[in-house]
């Protein structure tokens, strides 16, 4: 309680230094936030694209309806498969007209093959799984041809891996920078109060007592900086959505993690800094 009050007093005594600290934390976390926004949106887009990963098996003309129905049932039982649809010749034609209305005239009287369309379950959309399911479907004698955009699936998986790794690495780098910046602001705060601290030592205040207000200060700065960074990121995503591309913002739990992360970074930064600088006073 006393430590909290001390921390607040410290804010009041050196408002400029405190604001400076919060702003620097906010901007370094803003950088993390912007990258997080990019990563979230890449992920979002990729998962939307991934939903469309499907295997289309073209069925030979004149195949008995029972054989097709049996195959649809079998394929639907594969653990990797989310959905199986039979698309008849007529349905294929009307779908083509619906999806590509510009070519409506071309389809008049055109023949399109019937197909079995298979959608993969999330988590099974990587190239190896898709390939293995495709191979199993190919074994049905009535399957003429099979499409599943092999290259495309592999590229997608690679992009996702690279984006994930880059996000992790950059996020960590920015977090380290933020910790160092917070360490520096705490160091300035410690030095600004070095006289007070030396007197506290002299009259017998314990080290943990001396340290506590600084830790709270770092924690509070981290939370405020994190909140401020969240606001900036939200504004940025709003602007990007309006003028460039539609973006999704973090969901509330991710946003909370961001602010809590800021607080933890603040605490870590002060912990590292305060111990080292107290020893020198």
């Amino acid at each position: 309680m006393r430590a909290l009050r001390e921390a607040l007093i410290a804010f009041r005594r050196a408002p400029l230094l405190s604001v400076l600290g919060i702003v620097t934390i906010a901007f370094s976390l803003f950088a993390v936030g912007l990258f997080g926004l990019v990563a979230t949106n890449i992920r979002e887009t990729l998962s939307r694209v991934e939903e469309r990963v499907e295997i289309r098996a073209y069925v030979a003309e004149g195949t008995a309806a029972e054989a097709i129905a049996a195959a649809v049932g079998d394929i639907g039982d594969f653990p990797e498969v989310a959905r199986v649809d039979f698309v008849s010749q007529e349905a294929a034609l009307s779908r083509a007209r619906r999806e590509l209305p510009e070519f409506r005239d071309v389809y008049e009287g055109t023949f399109l093959p019937a197909s079995i369309d298979v959608r993969m379950r999330p988590g099974y959309r990587d190239p190896a799984q898709v390939r293995s399911v495709a191979a199993r479907i190919r074994t049905y004698p009535f399957v003429d041809d099979l499409q599943y955009g092999e290259e495309w699936v592999e590229k997608l998986a690679r992009i996702r891996n690279i984006a994930g790794l880059a996000g992790l690495a950059l996020g960590l780098a920015f977090a380290v920078v933020a910790i160092m910046i917070i360490g520096t602001t705490i160091r300035m705060a410690v030095l600004a109060r070095s006289r007070e601290i030396s007197i506290m030592r002299l009259v017998g205040a314990t080290d943990s007592f001396i340290r506590r207000p600084f830790l709270i200060e770092g924690f509070v700065k981290g939370i405020l900086g994190g909140g401020f960074a969240l606001l900036l990121t939200w504004l940025a995503s709003l602007l990007i959505s309006r003028y460039i591309v539609r973006t999704t913002f973090f969901d509330p739990s991710l946003a909370t993690i961001g602010v809590v992360g800021g607080a933890i970074i603040g605490l870590l930064g002060s912990l590292v800094s305060v111990g080292r600088h107290l020893r020198r006073i």
Partner: protein, 231 residues
């Protein structure tokens, strides 16, 4: 109460500061430490409040021993000591009473008791009327009184004073010395480093003279001859 046993203190840069110093300070005693600048007076005081630890030998202060020091022992010890310096070491941005209260706050005194104790202490050092004054509004002697009041907050068994009158004129010096005598008379031991010979002559307290890191004279033991400076 304070016991130095064959204490050697060597600083990494400046070399030997104390060379085989043994001394005892009894409960309630008043002791002057004297000697030229750099002789080791301040080092002895720093060893008492355990700002420094001996290179060899042992310092024992009220049950705390440098050879078996645990975490937090130093803070605990300092709550039983009062320390004042030549440069007062007050917080410039706080009033006299806030400076005294600060020492109570940071050592965890019950909040409700602080104001009464602070005004009692300020009255004891003769500053009751200047409780709300800031250090810059006080004379040197008055500032040192605030520092002494602060040193007394936790009822120390010993008051350690490192050149407490070094920055003061004669009148203020006499006043501070009188205050230290009163504090001593009420049972608190006083260890005072000074090279103010007037002060020493005006009393018949025990005097220990240090030169080049060694005790060259101790009026309690008469182990050596007083040098010209002291006589």
């Amino acid at each position: 109460m304070i016991r130095f046993t064959h204490v050697v203190k060597e600083y990494p840069r400046t070399g030997l500061a104390l060379n085989d110093v043994s001394l005892d300070v009894a409960k309630g005693e008043f002791v002057f430490l004297t000697g030229p600048s750099g002789s080791g007076k301040s080092t002895i005081l720093k060893l008492v409040y355990m700002e420094e630890l001996p290179t060899a030998g042992e310092v024992r202060v009220s049950g705390s021993t440098t050879s078996a020091l645990k975490r937090g022992d130093v803070a605990k010890l300092r709550r039983k000591l009062g320390i004042v310096f030549q440069d007062f070491r007050l917080l410039e941005d706080r009033s006299a009473e806030a400076n005294v209260a600060f020492a109570l706050e940071v050592t965890g005194a019950p909040r409700a008791q602080i104001p009464a104790r602070v005004s009692r202490l300020l009255a004891q050092v003769g500053l009751a009327s200047k409780a709300t004054a800031f250090p810059r509004e006080l004379s040197g002697g008055e500032q040192q009184r605030v520092a002494i009041a602060r040193a007394l907050v936790n009822d120390p068994f010993v008051l350690i004073a490192d050149e407490p009158t070094g920055n003061l004129d004669d009148r203020a010096t006499r006043g501070i010395f009188q205050l230290l005598r009163e504090i001593n008379a009420s049972g608190t031991a006083v260890v005072m480093a000074t090279h103010n010979l007037d002060v020493i002559r005006r009393s018949d307290y025990r005097t220990i003279e240090i030169n080049r890191g060694q005790i060259v004279f101790d009026s309690a033991e008469q182990r050596g001859l007083p040098t010209e400076e002291v006589v």
